[in-house]
Each structure stands twice: as C-alpha cells, then as structure tokens.
Symmetry: C2
Subunit: 342 residues, 2 copies
C-alpha cells in the first residue's frame, strides 16, 4: 500500500496512500479493541461467525478484516480469514507474546495529540505538548508505559540477559536506571539466581516494577531506589548498569551528565549496557530506528535517536572505552556495551 | 517501514510500525504545510537553508526531512536533501501536477474524525459520523472536496476523455453526474470542441465546477442542473453519462435506482462511463482500491468499494450490456464502460 513509484514514473498513488496511512493505525487499534484476532484464532473465521462472537456488525467486520488482510495481519481465502504468523504471535490474546496491551500506550490520546502538533514542533524544534520534560515524573505517561509495554521488551530483555552472561550464574549486582516495568532487570534475575537488581525510577512507576518482580518470583533480590536518575543516590560497586530507552529523551549534554553518574556507580571494569534506537550515520536507515527521532521531536524538549558515533563520543567523554554495538534480533533496537576505564 | 515479517519468523517490529503509521500522514501534512518540498526544489537543501527559508527550527526540519526521506518523499546524501520523482511532480507547488491542495480534503478534521470512530462504525456496520447520508447536500464536505481534489483527477480525466474518443472531435453530449469540480466533463470539452457538457451536482458545488469551466475556456459549452442525481431532471438523449466516484457512497439498491435514471437519460446505444475503486473479487487486492472500502465504512451508511461482478450485475439489472473494465494508468481507480441495451 505504500510501495514507492518506480524511478522516473511518478504516481499520485503513493501520495494518496500516505494521506491515508493513519487508517492503518486505526484498523490495528479497532482490531485489538474488538479482539478480532483472538476470535479468528479461536475459529470464528467468517464475518458471520465474528459478528456472533464480538457483537459487532457483519458488514463492519468484513470490511475491517479485508483491510487487516491488506495490512498482512490476516490471510483470506474463499471468504474466510486466518491469522498470519505475526498476528498469531502478537495479537491473539491467548499467545504468551501478545502485544495487545501495547495499545494502551502507543494508542493513548496524548501520543496521537503529540503527533497532531508536529507542525508546531518542527517550527519550535521541540515538543509543543506538555509532557516533554522527562526530568519530571510524568506519572500519567510512564505508569501507562510501564503497564503496557512490558511484553514488547521480551526480545531485547532476553538478548541483554544472555549478553551479560546471566545464564552462567555468577554473583553480580545490576543497577537498572529508569527501570519502568522492570523487565530488563527482572529477566536477568530470572536467568541468574545470584543476580541482585537495584531499580531506579519514579515512585509510582516502581510499584509496577515491584509487582512484576513479585510475579516473576525474584522480589527478594529486587531492590528499588525512587527518584530522578539525575539526582537520587544510585549506590555503587555495580557490575552492570542498564540504560534502556532513556538517553533518547535528553540532550547530549544531559546524557553525559547521566553517564558520569553511571561511571561513578560502576565498579572498576564494570559495564554500561544501553538499549536504544540507533540509526546509521545517515540518520535515515534502518527505517524504524531512524523514524524514532520523530517521536522525540514531538515528545521531548531536546531528545533524539542518536547515532553510534554520537554515543561513542558521549561515552568516551565520560570515562568509558570499547563501546560495541549489537543488533537485537527481530527488533528495531540495538544494544551498546561500554567498559568503565580504570 | 512496514515490511511484513518473513513467513515463520514473526516479529513485533511490524506491529510496532503499524501503531505508528499515523505518523506518516502527519509528516506528509507538515511537509506540505511548511512547504518544505517547494523549498527543497528551489535549492534550500539543508536544515540550515530550510530554516532560513521557512522560519521553522533547524532541528525540527532535520528530523522532519529525515523522516520524509524514510518515506521516500525525499532523498538524502551527505546531509543534503533532494526531491524524489514523486515529490518533484506532486508536492512542489511549482509543478503543474502538484497535489498539495489535496491536503485540504484528505487532511480535513472530519475525515480523520471519521477514522477515529472506526470501532463504532464496525459495531454499527456504517458511519458513526454525521456526514454519511450522501443523498443530502453536505456542502461542508463536498465544496472542500471540489476545491481540493481537482488535480488528483487529471490522470483519470485524460484517460476517460481519450477512451470516449474526445480527440476525434465528433459532436456529442455528455451528462456528468455528481460533477464535483467538473474536471471529468471539462477535460472532455477541452479535448473535443464539439462536446457539450451537462453537469449535475448540489448548487454550492456547481459554482466550483462553473469556475473551473470558465478557467478552462469551455463555459459556453458547459451547462448545469442543480440538485440530487436521484431526483433532479437529468434531460435526455446523451451520448455518454459519466458516473465518477459516486456509486461507492450508496447501497447496491440505491446504485441501481440511479442507473435506471442513467438508462433513461442516454440515447439508444449510449454509454455509461463509471470511474471507481474496483477491488478484485477477493476484495483484498489490489491494495489501494480494496482499502478504499474502509473509507466507505466510516464515512457512509451503506457504501462500499464494489467488485466488477457486483457492478456487472447491477448494470445488467438496469438495462446495460457489455460492461468492460479498464485500469487507469498510475492510479488506483478503474473505468467501467457499459452500453445501453436497445
């Protein structure tokens, strides 16, 4: 639906499709809201069966499911619908990897309102909304984020736990900055019974992380420190500090202020582990990581999707060496590992 | 940005991208609003030069232009931007084919509000908005449409004029039902100096068509009849009746009611020429034509993107034969030509 025109043969179809791209988001949200993916996965695979199951109209469901088929979230054959591998894994509520809860954050009004003020944000060079200063708690945003986004973190959380050797079971202490739902630290604690986690975030957000730690059976090795990562006491002597999806909210100067605090909290040869959207140096590839920058324009004062060379420089400026870059499989994010210089 | 996962390797990236697809629409609209395409086409090809030209911030413009590059509406090399064939043709206001005015209709609030009530429309089986009954004038919608969309019609209008032999210059009378901006009939009148056009639409909309006919120099061969196509006197003895983008607003029963009136207005062996979004019989291909059905779900009581077999049946039921289907080059629409049976 958004195939570019072949070079030299411009077509208005592409422009027309982009004007309507917002319908793709709406169709996904409606599909989740009416739970048609779970219904189809459970065998209600025609408009008539779906209408009986969901209480919505047969005509509306036929048109919605045709549209979701165009988006390749469903397959259609002889008038019957089936889930695709993506929707079976991530949109059927019976799947352990279901992402339907993500709609609570990515579908939130404040998120779409930020985008609707894009023109004002481009004029100003930063958010035109009211949630842009992430040195403040912003509970409305971040508690919703913590409650909604945990499932989306599974691939990166497993990747990081493996990368820092959690399965080897060596004793270690891990500081999880801006822990949010806590799933990065909790995944390490689950893989390594001798890992001790210290999570930092705003008090209201930490209650979500603590709940997740209890549910994961690691609460006795899960400590919290509430407050701003820029101000609260972080403790010291950590083997690892996790910095997952935090730097993109801030200016490079603020990132370096934080990284100095991380440096002080690590033991000698300790490692900082950063999870981020890291576009290539051209800032336009790979597409999803590069596009993330737009979120930071509309949602923050001075945040960005920084490139690897920008991170390497920021980390070198704050006492780190040997920063390496690792792609998270199946996800648009990358992990940077940096060593504290002695 | 919306590549489906390879079969058997589901990835959350696809779902994540669809949640953010609405950003594509916003970025296109902001690009048009700040006129960055014209600015880049005129040589302001870096964030600094664009900031000087548009008055917007350098940071905001850099992030916006990177995003527009990801959408393939711009190209980027060594930090400089250039137009692509699509944006040079359709988004630079200096281009005669510029579609920027389309933003006035496709970007209108009532259009995005319709989509935001998609869930309610699926439940009900028809629009949850207030503009759904297209047997009423709905001036707010259709005058905006007439003023905004004329340029987008050029490929189809030229295709139809050629198809009915306008360049051959034979005397002919053409009834243009729901004429809107009038460009389909006006294009025929321009190509054939012996063609006489009768345009039907609501009075407020016809003032736009008359203005366009004057600007095209064909006003003396351009007659209007105001009112509902279902009720007003259409006249008779026409060689051709144009039905461009009208049937999709109505139920099949209403379409046939209209087609009986068309039958009565044509001379023997006269032809009805229909321009429509006609999906294949599977209703999910080709993507843009099939996706149009969602617009009709959220925007009308009972409209749809009908298939060729549905049109063929509706036209056969109302006294037409030999309905043929023709793809409009470079556009998602198709033309159906049907002969009045004698």
């Amino acid at each position: 639906m958004s195939t570019p025109s072949p070079k030299g043969h411009p077509s208005p179809e592409r422009i027309y499709s982009l004007f309507n791209a917002f319908q793709q988001t709406a169709a996904l949200q409606t599909g989740i809201e009416l739970d048609v993916f779970t219904a189809i996965g459970s065998g209600a695979n025609t408009p008539a069966l779906l209408a009986a199951k969901t209480g919505a109209s047969e005509r509306g469901l036929r048109i919605l499911c045709d549209y979701l088929t165009i988006l390749e979230l469903l397959a259609k054959e002889d008038g019957s619908y089936a889930l695709t591998p993506d929707s079976a894994s991530f949109l059927d509520r019976r799947s352990p990897a279901c992402l339907a809860a993500v709609a609570g954050f990515l579908g939130a009004d404040w998120h779409s309102q930020n985008i609707r003020s894009l023109t004002a944000a481009v004029r100003k060079g930063g958010t035109a909304g009211v949630h842009g200063d992430n040195t403040k708690p912003q509970d409305e945003v971040w508690v919703a984020f913590a409650r909604s986004m945990a499932q989306l973190t599974a691939p990166a959380a497993n990747f990081i736990a493996h990368m820092i050797g959690a399965p080897e079971g060596q004793p270690c202490t891990v500081l999880d900055i801006a822990a949010c739902h806590g799933m990065y630290g909790i995944t390490i604690a689950k893989r390594n019974p001798r890992a001790h986690i210290v999570a930092v975030d705003w008090p209201a957000v930490l209650t979500v992380a603590q709940e997740n730690a209890r549910n994961a059976g690691v609460a006795e090795r899960y400590e919290t420190r509430s407050g701003s990562a820029f101000e609260t006491s972080l403790g010291g002597g950590y083997d690892f500090v996790l910095l997952t999806n935090i730097f993109h909210h801030f200016s490079q100067a603020m990132c370096q202020t934080l990284m100095w605090r991380v440096h002080a909290a690590l033991k000698p040869e300790g490692k900082a582990v950063t999870l981020e959207f890291v576009p290539n140096e051209d800032r336009v590839t790979p597409p999803v990581a590069a596009a993330f920058s737009l979120n930071m324009l509309v949602g923050t004062e001075a945040g960005d999707a920084y490139t690897f060379s920008e991170y390497e420089q920021m980390f070198a400026n704050t006492g780190f060496t040997n920063t390496t870059l690792h792609q998270v499989p199946q996800m648009p994010q990358r992990v940077l590992v940096s060593e504290k210089s002695s």
